[in-house]
Symmetry: C2
Subunit: 170 residues, 2 copies
DNA sequence: CCAGTCACTTGCATAATGATAGTGACAATG
DNA sequence: CATTGTCACTATCATTATGCAAGTGACTGG
């Protein structure tokens, strides 16, 4: 997926997907969040070809989402652990999981989220940190921010609603 | 990416990624949320080969994330509009965008989220709907839910923390 | 009639993936 | 000390997907 446009390079969604948008990547991170650290952990859980796994772990390490460290000296064995940057993708995975449970689980959620201490069911939603208002399609807008290039500011001079195209005639 | 294991098929994250995990898919949905509806809209914004775009739009339509409708009769022209299911991915994209702004934007966010009415900056975070407690790595656990197969319940008899492997020795 | 728009499709070279097998380092077992 | 086993890979090769470029068909507007 070779992307070129300047604006595209600046979009934080596109940037993120450059790191985690490839096949398997988010599943690897999911398993890392569930405790997998060794090559074989990942391979067994995911059932993916080792060649691909090897490449992905390499990439994730380069990008700073995982960190390699030796966990055994005699035959040198290494494990992969999440960095803070990598672990910070947890909310994204939770949002994705909530969507999957809402739309792809006709018989009820196969996996659900709970509070780790109390075991009480929790439901992930995306809100504004300050007001706690839910952010869903049509209730947020995007605009060029402090790190935007002149190019982007020109192309996006005003805020744009982030939501479904209204049913207005074209 | 052919996945096989039974558990894998039940994971809502894996299920979601089956629909939106391929290259370009989430970017197409992003642009749909930003108002793109026609084939050319998407092509111009994304700069992707039309063959791939065509396939993706087809898939997204089959999966019920987009809907085709005629918007011009004479030469029959169709547009692609988000369904509710598709638009409901907005929170996932917002979470991803927030991550990108946090970790991949050293010069400040190129794009930021605002309230569509007031224009006030908002910051997407994932919280529990009821308690509004922030859900980040280590503050949630997963467990088999109502729609889980017997197989899954056996494999995952108790809740599992969703977070970084603690720095405990292996 | 001719150029232009729009939404694709076709063909082909290149790249990525999936399946399977093999390697090298060591440990434990017999 | 030979054999088997574990772990983390690498190598090979067929299959699949993507990127690029060009072409098609339906029409409009001049």
């Amino acid at each position: 997926m070779r992307r070129k446009s300047l604006c595209e390079l600046e979009c934080p969604i596109a940037r993120s997907l450059d790191l985690v948008g490839e096949a398997w990547t988010l599943l690897i991170l999911r398993d890392a969040l569930l405790g997998a650290t060794r090559f074989q952990d990942f391979q067994e859980r995911l059932g993916m070809p080792p060649s691909t796994l090897s490449r992905r772990l390499e990439q994730l390490t380069e990008q700073g989402l995982l960190e390699r460290s030796v966990y055994e000296e005699k035959p040198v064995r290494e494990r992969y652990q999440l960095t803070e940057k990598g672990a910070d993708l947890a909310p994204v995975l939770l949002a994705l999981s909530a969507w999957g449970n809402r739309w792809l689980a006709p018989d009820g959620p196969p996996l659900e989220c709970v509070d780790p201490e109390t075991g009480v069911l929790v439901e992930p939603v995306v809100v504004d940190r300050r007001t706690k208002r839910e952010l869903s399609a049509g209730r947020v807008a995007l605009r060029a921010g402090g790190g935007a290039s002149r190019e982007l500011k020109r192309k996006l001079p005003t805020q744009v609603l982030f939501g479904r195209a209204s049913e207005v005639a074209p």
